[in-house]
C-alpha cells in the first residue's frame, strides 16, 4: 500500500512537472473586453471572440471557410428542412454537468429569445432532441445557411442556467443593461474558464482541466486579457514587452512592428467591405445611373488602398470578397477620370453639382481619411462635396436619419454569406420585412430583391452561386453603390507566439489552439 502511494505521488510529481514545463501564459491586449459573460447579450466581434474561448459551437469556420466539427462530430441532412447533428460524447461543462442534446435545444431556444440573435435564428423552427447525443436543427423552409448558423450555437449549460439566482431573478434572463446571473457567471464547454474579471481592467482565463479537445496542440494555460483602448498605447505595450499579443494593429504602426526584432505582424484579407451609398431620394442626380457610374469611375480606390491603407486593404468592385459564393472574378475596380468626366457630360452635368457626405471617424480603419480622399477625387469631376465626419457614437443616428447625400458604411456579413450584404445594404428598404435596413442610398431594383429572396431557400450550392453572382453583376452595372475596399485584419505578437495558425477571416482567433514556443 505504502509503495503504491509512493508510486502515485512520484507519478503525480512527474506529471505536474510535465505540465509545468508546457504551461504557458499569454498576455493579450485588445481594444475592448467582452461586455458580458453571457454570449447571447450582444452580437459583436468581441463577444464572439469571447464565446470561442469559453464556449464551443456545434461547428466552426476553418481558415479555408469550411466547417470544422466541434461539439458536433458529424452531421447529415435528413430532409430538406432538417439537419441531424451527432454530438461529441464525454464533454463536460465547467460546472461539471455533462453536455447533452438538451443543452443544444435549450441554447437554440434562448438564441431565439435574444434581442441580438433572434434575427439570425428567424428561419429556424428550433432544435429537437433525438437522443442524448443526437439533435435535429429544423428550419421553416429549406435553408442553405443552416450550417453557417450552427457556428453561432455555443452550447450553454442548461442545468447551470436554470432556476432562480439569489436575487430572485431567473438565471436564464438575458439582460443588456443591468444585473443578470448569466452576465456574471459562465458555464460553457470551452477550453478556458473565466477565473477573474474586472470589467474593462483585466480578465483572466484559466484552462479547464476536463476540456474535451485533447488533440489540440494549444499549450496556453492562462490568458491575461487586458483591454487597451488607445492604439499607440497598445502598440507600446507590445513593443515594451508588457503584452505578448495585440489586436487590432493600427496601420500607421505596421512598418514599425514589422521592422522591430522580437515581434511580428500578421495580416490577412478580411471580408468587411467599405462603401459609399448615394442617396437617390435626396438627390435626383443620383437617380441617373450615369452619375453613379461617374462617381465610381472617379474614385481611385486602388490608390486609397495603397496609400491610405498602406496596402493593407484590397480595392473592391463588388460587395463580397474572393471565397464567397457571390464573388465574380471579372468585376474589377474601374478608376478612370476621363471616363468619369465623359459620363458626367452624358448625364447632363458637365459643370457638376454640390452635395453633402458624412462618415464616421473612429469606426473603420482610417475612415475619415478615406472620406477626405474621396471628396478630393470627386472634385475632379466637379462634384463639390461638403464632408462631415463624426464619432461612431453619433454617426449611426445620422446615418439612419439619412442626413447627407453620400454616406459611408462598412459591412461584414454575420452569416459569412454573399446574400447578407445585399439584404442589409441594397434591397429595397422595407419597414415590414426589415430588408434594406442600411440602404441609405435608397437603391431599389425589384430584380435584385427577387433573386435574393429566391436565394434564401436555394440549397443547391451551384445554383445559389450563380444567382448571387448575377446580383453582383447587376449591382456593378447599375453602380448601385461606390465600393472602396475590403479591410485587412491585423494581429501582432512576440516572435514565439504562433499567430497565423489560429487566426481567420472572421477575426475570431482560436486561442485554445494557440502554441507558444
Amino acid at each position: 500500500m505504502k509503495k503504491l502511494t509512493c508510486i502515485l505521488v512520484a507519478l503525480l510529481i512527474v506529471l505536474s512537472l510535465g505540465t509545468a514545463v508546457n504551461a504557458k501564459t499569454l498576455k493579450l491586449a485588445m481594444d475592448a473586453d467582452p461586455v458580458s459573460l453571457d454570449p447571447h447579450v450582444q452580437l459583436s466581434g468581441g463577444m464572439l471572440q469571447y464565446s470561442h474561448m469559453v464556449f464551443d459551437p456545434l461547428v466552426r469556420w476553418s481558415k479555408e471557410m469550411t466547417f470544422e466539427p466541434r461539439l458536433a462530430e458529424k452531421w447529415e441532412r435528413i430532409d430538406e428542412n432538417t439537419v441531424r447533428f451527432y454530438l461529441r460524447k464525454g464533454v463536460v461543462f465547467h460546472s461539471g454537468n455533462p453536455f447533452t442534446a438538451r443543452d443544444i435545444v435549450w441554447t437554440v431556444d434562448r438564441l431565439k429569445r435574444s434581442q441580438d440573435f433572434k434575427g439570425l435564428f428567424e428561419p429556424f423552427v428550433g432544435a429537437a432532441v433525438i437522443d442524448d447525443h443526437t439533435v435535429d436543427l429544423i428550419t421553416k423552409k429549406p435553408y442553405p445557411l443552416l450550417l453557417n448558423m450552427a457556428t453561432y450555437i455555443f452550447a450553454m449549460d442548461s442545468v447551470f442556467y436554470t432556476g432562480t439566482d439569489d436575487q430572485g431573478q431567473p438565471k436564464d434572463a438575458i439582460v443588456k443593461t443591468g444585473y443578470s446571473f448569466a452576465n456574471m457567471n459562465e458555464s460553457g464547454t470551452g477550453k478556458y474558464r473565466v477565473t477573474e474579471r474586472q470589467q474593462g481592467v483585466k480578465n483572466v482565463f484559466t484552462a479547464f482541466a476536463d476540456y474535451w479537445d485533447t488533440a489540440s496542440p494549444g499549450n496556453v494555460d492562462t490568458i491575461i486579457f487586458t483591454p487597451i483602448k488607445k492604439d499607440a498605447t497598445r502598440v507600446a505595450a507590445l513593443l515594451s514587452g508588457d503584452v505578448d499579443f495585440i489586436m487590432p494593429v493600427p496601420p500607421q504602426d505596421y512598418d514599425r512592428i514589422a521592422g522591430t526584432d522580437g515581434v511580428k505582424l500578421t495580416t490577412m484579407p478580411g471580408s468587411r467591405v467599405i462603401t459609399f451609398q448615394l442617396n437617390q431620394k435626396r438627390r435626383d442626380e443620383f437617380k441617373n445611373p450615369k452619375v453613379r457610374q461617374a462617381i465610381v469611375y472617379a474614385i481611385n480606390n486602388e490608390g486609397i488602398a495603397e496609400k491610405i491603407m498602406k496596402g493593407k486593404a484590397t480595392a473592391a468592385a463588388q460587395q463580397a470578397p474572393e471565397g464567397y459564393l457571390g464573388y465574380v472574378e471579372a468585376l474589377k475596380p474601374r478608376y478612370d477620370v476621363a471616363k468619369a468626366q465623359e459620363l458626367m457630360k452624358e448625364a447632363g452635368y458637365p459643370d457638376g453639382f454640390e452635395c453633402t457626405m458624412i462618415a464616421p471617424n473612429n469606426r473603420y480603419v482610417n475612415d475619415d481619411k478615406i472620406a477626405e480622399a474621396a471628396v478630393s477625387m470627386l472634385g475632379r469631376i466637379n462634384i463639390k462635396v461638403n464632408l462631415k465626419t463624426m464619432p461612431k457614437a453619433q454617426y449611426w443616428d445620422q446615418f439612419d436619419a439619412q442626413t447627407a447625400d453620400i454616406q459611408m458604411i462598412g459591412w461584414h456579413p454575420d452569416t459569412e454569406d454573399s446574400a447578407n450584404y445585399t439584404e442589409f445594404l441594397l434591397m429595397c428598404p422595407n419597414k415590414e420585412t426589415g430588408y434594406g435596413q442600411y440602404n441609405s442610398g435608397n437603391y431599389c431594383n425589384p430584380k435584385v430583391d427577387e433573386i435574393i429572396l429566391a436565394c434564401q431557400s436555394e440549397t443547391d450550392r451551384d445554383k445559389r452561386a450563380a444567382m448571387l453572382q448575377e446580383v453582383e453583376r447587376i449591382l456593378y452595372n447599375d453602380a448601385a453603390f461606390a465600393p472602396l475596399h475590403w479591410q485587412h485584419l491585423s494581429w501582432a505578437g512576440k516572435d514565439n507566439v504562433n499567430i497565423l495558425p489560429i487566426v481567420n477571416v472572421m477575426n475570431f482567433p482560436y486561442f485554445g489552439d494557440l502554441v507558444i514556443d
Binding site: Q115, G119, G200, I228, A232, T233, A237, A393, Y395, G434
Partner: protein
C-alpha cells in the same frame, strides 16, 4: 465657521443641480446608447423596443424629473456598459484617479517649493536659470505628448518602466490600491510624472515670483536689519506669506488636474475616472456621464471649501465667516 460650512453645503446643492442639468442637456447629444448595446444587424423594431424599455422615448423633462427623484435618493442611474449602478462604478474607479492625483500633487509640492524658493533667492545663478528655462518648456509641451514620449523612452526603448495600466493592486476594503505593491509603484511613476508636468512648472514660477515680491517688502528688510537668521527669514517670514496665493491657485488647479487625468489616463490605460469618462462618451453611456460630472463637481466644491478654510488658518486676517 458653522454658518460658513452650511452655506457651502447649500452652494454645493445648487452646483450639483446646475451640473446635472448641463449633464442632462449634453447626454442627448453624445449619441444614442441603444446603438452601442446592440449588434448592427438587429432590426429597427427590436431597437425601438429596447429604447422604449430604457425609457429613452419619454420627453426629456420627464426623464430629467425621474432622474432628479432618483438622484435625491442617491441613485444616479445605471451604467449601460457596466450593468451596475453608475455610482458604484464611479466609486470603484475613484481610487485609481485619487491615487494618481495624490502622487502627482505630492510630486508638485515636493519639487515646486524648494525649486521655487531657490530660484527666488538666487535668481542669477545658473541652476535658477535652468529651472526657469525648463519650466517654460514644461508648460508649453502638451501633457499627452510628454506621456507618449515617456512611454517611448522609458518603456519601449529602455524597458525600465511598464507602459500601461496600474499593475498589481491590493483590495483594501473595496479600495483597490496600487500603493502596497512594488509593481503598483512602478506603474505609478510615468503617469504621475506626466500628470504633474502640467502644474509643476506653473507652481515653480508662481512660488518664485511671489517669493521675490515678498523678499522686497519692508518687513523682510527690517528682519534683515534686525539680524535674524537667514533661514528664519526665508522659510518662516517670507515663505509663509508666499503661500497665500499659492494655495488659492492650488485649489483651482486641482480641478484642472482632475480634468487632465482624462488625457493621462487614456494614454496609460489607467483605469480611473478620466478614462471612464472618455469611454462613457464613446459608448454613449449617459448615466455614467452624468454621474461622473456630478462626482467631479462634488470634489471641486469640497476642495474649494477646504482651501477656503486653510486660507483662514494661514492668514487670520481673512475672515471666512464674515459678510465681506
Amino acid at each position: 465657521m458653522a454658518a460658513f460650512i452650511i452655506r457651502r453645503i447649500v452652494q454645493a446643492f445648487v452646483v450639483m443641480f446646475i451640473i446635472s442639468s448641463i449633464g442632462f442637456a449634453v447626454k442627448h447629444n453624445v449619441g444614442d446608447p441603444v446603438w452601442q448595446i446592440t449588434g448592427i444587424s438587429v432590426s429597427k423594431a427590436e431597437r425601438e423596443r429596447i429604447r422604449e424599455d430604457l425609457g429613452l422615448n419619454d420627453p426629456v423633462y420627464i426623464q430629467y424629473i425621474d432622474f432628479l427623484k432618483k438622484a435625491a435618493h442617491g441613485d444616479l442611474g445605471k451604467s449601460y456598459f457596466y450593468k451596475k449602478p453608475a455610482a458604484d462604478v464611479i466609486l470603484d474607479k475613484a481610487p485609481a484617479t485619487l491615487e494618481l492625483v495624490l502622487v502627482s500633487s505630492l510630486i508638485i509640492v515636493v519639487l515646486s517649493v524648494p525649486l521655487g524658493i531657490y530660484a527666488a533667492i538666487y535668481p542669477k545663478r545658473l541652476f535658477s536659470r535652468v529651472i526657469m528655462g525648463g519650466s517654460i518648456v514644461g508648460v508649453s509641451i502638451p501633457v499627452f505628448l510628454i506621456a507618449i514620449m515617456g512611454v517611448y523612452l522609458f518603456s519601449v526603448q529602455l524597458g525600465w518602466l511598464p507602459s500601461f495600466g496600474r499593475g498589481e493592486t491590493v483590495n483594501v476594503g473595496g479600495w483597490r490600491t496600487g500603493f502596497l505593491t512594488a509593481d503598483g509603484w512602478r506603474h505609478l511613476i510615468l503617469p504621475s510624472l506626466s500628470l504633474s508636468s502640467i502644474m509643476l512648472p506653473l507652481f515653480i514660477r508662481l512660488i518664485r515670483s511671489e517669493m521675490m515680491e515678498v523678499l522686497e517688502s519692508d518687513y523682510i528688510r527690517y528682519a534683515w536689519a534686525k539680524g535674524l537668521n537667514r533661514y528664519r527669514i526665508w522659510f518662516l517670514h517670507a515663505f509663509k506669506n508666499t503661500l497665500l496665493p499659492v494655495i488659492t491657485v492650488g485649489g483651482v488647479q486641482l480641478g484642472i488636474t482632475i480634468a487632465f487625468t482624462i488625457l493621462t489616463e487614456t494614454v496609460f490605460q489607467w483605469q480611473g475616472l478620466g478614462f471612464l469618462f472618455m469611454e462613457a462618451v464613446e459608448r454613449s453611456d449617459t448615466a455614467l456621464l452624468v454621474a461622473y460630472l456630478m462626482f467631479v463637481g462634488m470634489i471641486m466644491v469640497v476642495v474649494n471649501t477646504v482651501v477656503d478654510i486653510i486660507y483662514g488658518v494661514v492668514n487670520p486676517t481673512v475672515r471666512i465667516t464674515g459678510a465681506a
